[in-house]
Assembly symmetry: C2
Homo-oligomer: 764 residues x 2
């Protein structure tokens, strides 16, 4: 064993694999570790394919719906590390989401019938597209339970807008974008009367209940949905499910499937067979084929009717204008997925063993020829299945959703009941490979697999049950996303990832290089409106303004103090505290809270945020920075004093003094000089190497000098007090210089470590 | 290269390493992957040390505070995969936390001054201990911003109780448990008047503001804190920070450090030096040494005073009774950490380069001898530093927190400013090793490193800044936890883990084998009280009870229908929906929501949950199961019909019928027979192998037969309808048999896959 390993090491070295300059590694160690941890060679290969060492980055970024958590989950591939939970429909205090005034306004856009909805059942995220390719600018996500759609800006990963669907009572089939993100598509799920707050009995299901699909107009420049330019198509009370937008050949069209086209009404408590029996009794449901480009023109021409103030094209109009067709599809399908070239549409029927590949060309030919096999009960022309099908392929039990490979004609379909992924060829209609997953896969996802240019490489299986895969954490278990290598002929399972919060329903993944988020805001920005915040001030402009019983604070945050450090109010005052983070340094976020007043703000560099509350109880309430932002973070605090009405200070009371002596002052001055020597030595090192080649280091150095710059004038200040023998003030202002020095040294040392670990080289 | 790799493969095989039976692996592949991904041999070793393949489990489970997210994060080591976010102080809809009636009551315990506080700033988790060792039964976590403490039961990982500190306005230094979890220790942070809602000006800081430490009495049998048996010690207005309980030699004592013993009041807006200058001007602060066992007796003897109804031992009484001593400690310390044997107490002063090792024996000798160097301003005896110190060791800039190894005398201390971890020997007072981390480490944590028996192996560095480590996700970046191998002489960095939600402050990790959570509840359990839920019913007992304008539903959930499937109410009714999950199968959680009514429940197997709301708007509101629980999950729904007051159905209206024929019925009967044949073949396979040796498979098989058992009586039912030529009902009830068959097949196939992948062997 030893013999081999030594040989292996030297051979690897000879082959130029590069061995880190450390004594710790040896092939012995590796073999021992594999043995001790019970890892096979196959496991080692999978580890090598997924491990991302410190300082390196992942290839793809996945945006996953957070299910009932109401959030979006961001993770990176292939390491499967979760980078961020974005608050979308649910308040989230770490981000201050729902706890500061600007984000409260975003959440308030999502009120329904005048009431706050403090969660969502997020299902299908979609990345904005340009020419059918992911562009990494915006993310859209729906709420099934409370039919809504949210817009997230990928410049700062914040939720900017929530729109409420004006006519649905539930929606599952959103969000899907058209190829240039002209529209975001969102389909209803459970039929209901379209008029808001309107009751009709279930006996009138066929006449009064309706489904539909909404096309939300997106203004890319503003980064917001324009509700007045959005519209819907009324659809029969089939239970619409997922959609997909046409692309390439099928550009301008969209496809929405359905189940329970039986329009069955259950009632197990009354002795009727339940929905699950009646909704899946027939062998086919209907794929809705919609010409959305023409539909938009029809709306523009004034042919839509208004329901709840929203433009809705009636079924009758849709049929008359040639916007809407049906095709039978087998059985209770979930996914409808247009191929990258837009020529085919793949439907997976959960209760059928087949995937059905429809030809857009055949569909158009049938429409052109007026060749319909029938009309449904609502007068919609039905294209015969055989007239639209390219092929059908039997894959297994419970086909659910299909994604595409970078290789031509290759698709992957999840099989829920079989707990497998099938790899197959949709041109030739043949199965290529299968792999077992753990367990009960719902959706699956390939890299950019929804776009016109899938990137191949990896597939993620979104398994609904994890059961025995992870260390148990009680009856409520995580779901599991399994990473599968699809680069070869055979699929290979690489990694099991638990999902710790929410039931992710669907994921989209984009090449990490396409994302260009900011690291800071322009100073004084309201991040939710992307506009200057009216409460922003610069350093030195901080103030407290009182008008009647309204107290407004205009404050700032910088390592490591809050300005102001005292806020005096009277009980009953309405208090607004605006805070601007003056930092420019990457990752130097400050937080803010006032004890027991239920406010919290996350204030990233440059951001301005306001919190607001009624100071309804007397007493002394500390406020503080909630981010561990420096060594003196705990000292970054202040007191809000809520005084009884009309309280006046006793004239003789003064703040207690310390007992600082000349010796204390001199010691502090010496400490400052000693620390400056350390800083100088670090600066000497940094400037002796090519630090300017490392943008992160340049930022740190700028920040360090920024901190040191804050000592300006303080030397004169402490020397002035010393001259007057005010040792208290002299000592404390000298101490304040040291505080800035500590932050400077902190940054300098971080920069030095970075340079040492990243191969900086000496310069003249 | 090729040559080497072939050789390597055969040598590994010869060495019995075991090569998975797959064509995909080869040493070629491994070398190619390392090259393509730019991984060094050192990286490969780290990957091998952290990768956990599918079906295997991690060694340790970490419980991390979720910071401002108000939650607890559960992750496993060494893979650093996050398993669960537990809702604690912040409502969390996935878990139904704050959205169902029982969990609302838990959150309501955390109201302060009569108002909801919907978040927390969680800081220090603590696992319950027996004889100073982690026992894995309970977890405690504090809220700094709104001084509260929560109890989480590790049988189901749910928050069971929140208690509000009756005298503090902020608290940072909790939770720490005594060696048998008699008490949970929680210290104040920012001084304030102890009387609630009492205002005193800052000029009276020294006289009227106080700190303190609370000892919460824990009843392990009930799993709840007993507030009436809890008490606090009044402390001077030094800013108390972390604590630790004595153990072994120091059993019965506890230690709480402090900073800003200057009692400085800032005011930068008024030209005063800020808190950061004045709070760190002196070279030492005070370590509080407290005899909690004796303090409990003093309270029992009636010597405490009541403040806000809570027992508080005054400083005067504490001094008189010999409960409280001070020792100088250098400078603005954060961690105070008792060694595993309880003989030493290590204090890390953030603004000093030293860690100070105090000897409990010396402290006791000084107390016994009455040898004090002074009294502080409040009359508390101060033990001289030199009389209490064992040694001091200079480690670097910003020492913060210390944890222990399984090896004797070995400790690890985080260095915030240096961004390093120092390994050192606290017996001999020497530095052993240092490693750089990325960046600005706050706390650190070794496996069971707080207990009397640290488990060694791994260390986690809790870095406050990640900056350049991960794919960027906007100005608000994740923090990073870095896993470090401490099994050898030299520390080795293994893994960078981003924290996606909240700023974790501190973590505790326990051997995974010590956790024994349940996979289901006893049927009808209210998980928040651990008692039978009054709304629970069994299958067949479902009912809707109306009393005046109160409608109460007693329903059940099982794959894939909700009973009842229709809920009729009138506008203005107060609706309570109780739901019992009838599943027994592991991981078969159902969720429940009613469209737009802002309720959500997570109903794990056996649990009963109630949601409650006012049906304040007319209309048709779908409700549904929010977990993807089976292939027919989307059909698991019903309608709440909110009718106008006094609405009466028109007599002639009936539910629409399908158009099923005898042929449909016969086709369904055939499908049922065909499916049964598949089930029989799967059953034949399972019973042909030693499936009883696999507990998870046994559970799946039980569940499968449970599902199939539900078809009982349905054959007679559909045949009865067929005899009457009621093809509609005949067909649908036959279809319902098939629905159960699909779930049975699903389980059977999952069991079969498991057996095949886990080496089941043929039995007779």
């Amino acid at each position: 064993m030893k013999q081999f390993n030594k040989q292996a090491t030297s051979l690897l070295l000879a082959a130029g694999m590069g061995l880190a300059a450390t004594a710790a590694w040896s092939a012995d160690n590796l073999a021992d570790v594999l043995k001790a941890r019970g890892l096979s060679q196959q496991d080692l290969l999978a580890a090598a394919k997924t491990y991302v060492p410190t300082g390196k980055r992942d290839e793809f970024v996945a945006f996953s719906s957070g299910g009932q958590s109401g959030q979006v989950i961001v993770y990176s591939i292939p390491s499967m590390r979760i980078l961020k939970y974005i608050g979308v429909f649910t308040p989230e205090p770490w981000q201050g989401y729902g706890f500061d005034e600007s984000s409260k306004k975003v959440l308030a856009q999502g009120r329904i019938d005048g009431k706050d909805i403090t969660w969502g059942d997020t299902h299908h995220p979609a990345i904005s597209e340009t020419n059918g390719e992911y562009d990494g600018q915006f993310l859209f996500i729906n709420d099934k339970a409370n039919p809504r759609l949210a817009v997230i800006d990928l410049r700062d990963f914040e939720t900017k807008q929530i729109v409420v669907n004006p006519i649905f009572k539930s929606e599952h089939g959103g969000a899907f974008v058209t190829t240039n993100t002209e529209y975001v598509i969102e389909a209803a799920q459970y039929p209901a009367p379209l008029e808001n707050k309107k009751f009709y009995p279930l006996e009138e299901m066929n006449e009064k209940y309706r489904g539909g699909v909404t096309y939300w107009k997106f203004d890319r420049k503003e980064g917001r949905i324009v509700t007045k330019d959005s519209f819907s198509l009324e659809l029969p009370p089939y239970w619409q499910d997922l959609s997909d937008a046409g692309k390439g050949a099928s550009e301008g069209w969209s496809f929405t499937n359905s189940f329970c086209s039986e329009r069955y009404v259950g009632g197990i408590e009354k002795g009727r067979p339940p929905y699950e029996a009646g909704c899946s009794a027939k062998d086919t449901d209907y794929l809705h084929v919609i010409n959305w480009k023409k539909a938009a023109e029809v709306v523009k021409a004034g042919k839509a009717k208004k329901i709840n103030g929203h433009d809705v094209i009636s079924i009758e109009t849709a049929v008359k204008e040639g916007l809407l067709y049906l095709i039978p599809e087998p059985k209770s399908p979930h996914g409808v997925d247009v191929t990258p070239d837009g020529k085919h549409i793949v439907v997976a029927g959960k209760l059928d063993t087949h995937v059905s590949v429809y030809s857009f060309e055949k569909i158009q030919a049938a429409i052109k020829a007026g060749k319909f096999e029938s009309k449904d009960a609502y007068g919609i022309p039905v294209i015969g299945m055989k007239d639209a099908l390219h092929t059908q392929v039997s894959l297994g039990l419970g086909p659910l959703h299909t994604q595409y490979d970078s290789k031509a004609c290759v698709a992957y379909t999840s099989l829920y009941v079989d707990s497998q992924v099938a790899k197959w060829n949709y041109c030739e209609g043949k199965v290529l490979d299968k792999i077992s997953v753990h367990y009960n896969i719902g959706h699956l996802m390939t890299m950019e697999g929804d776009s016109t240019k899938p990137a191949g490489k990896y597939l993620v299986a979104l398994n609904k049950l994890s059961i025995d895969r992870f260390v148990p954490v009680g009856p409520l278990q995580p779901q599991s996303h399994q990473l599968i290598d699809i680069s070869g002929d055979k699929m290979q399972l690489l990694y099991d990832m638990p999902l710790p919060l929410g039931e992710p329903h669907y994921v989209v993944a984009i090449d990490a290089k396409k994302l260009k988020p900011a690291v800071r805001y322009k100073v004084g920005t309201d991040s939710r409106t992307d506009k200057p915040h009216p409460g922003a001030v610069r350093a030195g402009e901080e103030k407290i303004v009182r008008k009647g019983n309204k107290v407004e604070v205009f404050g700032t945050l910088i390592r490591s103090h809050i300005t102001p450090e005292t806020i005096d109010v009277e009980v009953g005052d309405e208090v607004t505290i605006n805070l601007t983070n003056l930092e420019r340094a990457q990752d130097e976020t400050h937080g803010f809270t006032v004890s027991t007043y239920n406010v919290h703000a996350s204030v990233e560099p440059g951001k301005t945020v306001a919190v607001k509350f009624k100071a309804d109880k007397e007493g002394v309430y500390p406020y503080y920075c909630t981010e561990f932002c420096s060594a003196l973070h705990l000292e970054m605090m202040g007191y809000m004093l809520v005084k009884p009405k009309g309280w006046k200070p006793s004239a003789k009371k003064e703040l207690a003094k310390g007992s600082y002596t000349e010796a204390d002052y001199k010691a502090t001055v010496k400490k400052v000089a000693d620390t400056q020597a350390i800083i100088d030595s670090v600066v000497a090192y940094i400037t002796s190497v090519n630090y300017k080649d490392f943008p992160d280091v340049v930022a740190m150095v700028e920040d360090a000098f920024d901190q040191l710059g804050k000592t300006k004038g303080l030397k004169e200040k402490h020397e002035g007090f010393a001259a007057k023998k005010d040792w208290e003030n002299a000592n404390l202002w000298a101490e304040q210089i040291w505080q800035y020095q500590v932050k400077t040294a902190d940054l300098g040392l971080r920069a030095k470590t970075y340079l040492e670990q990243n191969g900086a080289r000496k310069v003249k």
